[in-house]
Symmetry: C2
Subunit: 162 residues, 2 copies
DNA sequence: GCCTTATTATGAATTACTCACATTAGATGT
DNA sequence: ACATCTAATGTGAGTAATTCATAATAAGGC
């Protein structure tokens, strides 16, 4: 027995800090998501079952949802894909989805300040108090770009503004 | 009979311009989405049936999907909601979703230039050729803010950067 | 160890959407 | 106006992702 803090102990502490009990199901889910970020619920079921053979699909859904609400996981909903989860929660980073193969990459920030939280409203819109700005980029990753037969330039209307 | 261009005639012209036949189903769907932007497929079914009683759910799905591909409609996928559609397609505007009531407002542009297309990549990410950047804001609309018992400030980590 | 209740398992149900195939109806040419 | 071609829609079934109600189990405080 070592006195070092293991990853499992760290997750256990995180669970307690948000007022949740430490269960092997939650630890297995957290470990699975940490090992492969941007996992789907299905991915998590497979990965978690490697260390906890009889965890159920429904439990994984419940755990993922609960951990998202308590702030230990972040849920992202990419286009044309089931929801995905990641353990990187304390920075407001964004995501880029490859339209060719569906792979997802992390993006730190588009600009160095807070444009996302100070939107310019369209006419007729009432103003909201903005708390989160999620940016989803879509494009081609290097692999798919090489494999694609034609050149696919950025859409004109997107290069003018933004 | 007037010689003025009616909304229907305008939609008919748009359909022809993208190489699509003009059908009453497509016109009903376009009119429905134009009348209530950010409609779900279900909303469109209800609205379209007011003028075309026996249009099927499946046809609405097919029409929405086809018109999205041909560029007459834009599809948005807000969190915790089925896909929604709008006719405002030729500007790259974004959306704000109220976490209280789910209402959606249009947002013109966060900043005046193109930060969305020049992301700063996280370490370990490979670079993609970005073509689209969709921004989804989440917050509280004025109605929900008044109704909410406690003050809900913006998250600290989101005010620092972005 | 016991007790409380948070958590997980069980099984069914639902929502949002897609698919294969048959039928109908725009658009084009005569 | 009519025939023809095939895009477009209707029909009916099927699926993926997720949620729900309720019963069984197991953390954590005493």
């Amino acid at each position: 027995m070592t006195l070092q803090t293991t990853p499992t102990e760290t997750w256990a502490a995180s669970l307690r800090s948000v007022g949740r009990r430490v269960t092997k199901q939650r630890l297995a889910v957290l470990a699975a998501v940490e090992r492969s970020p941007h996992s789907t619920a299905d991915d998590v079921v497979s990965a978690a079952r490697a260390e906890l053979a009889d965890i159920t699909v429904q439990s994984v859904y419940v755990v993922l949802s609960d951990l998202t609400v308590s702030g230990l996981l972040r849920r992202i909903e990419p286009p044309n894909s089931p929801a995905r989860y990641e353990t990187r929660v304390n920075d407001n980073h964004h995501h880029a989805v490859c339209t060719g193969c569906g792979r997802i990459e992390d993006v730190d920030c588009a600009v160095g300040h807070a444009p996302c939280l100070t939107p310019s409203w369209s006419p007729g819109s009432s103003r909201m108090t903005i708390q989160i700005a999620d940016v989803v980029y879509q494009g081609l990753c290097t692999d798919c770009r090489e494999a694609s037969p034609e050149d696919v330039p950025a859409f004109p209307e997107h290069t003018e503004k933004h």
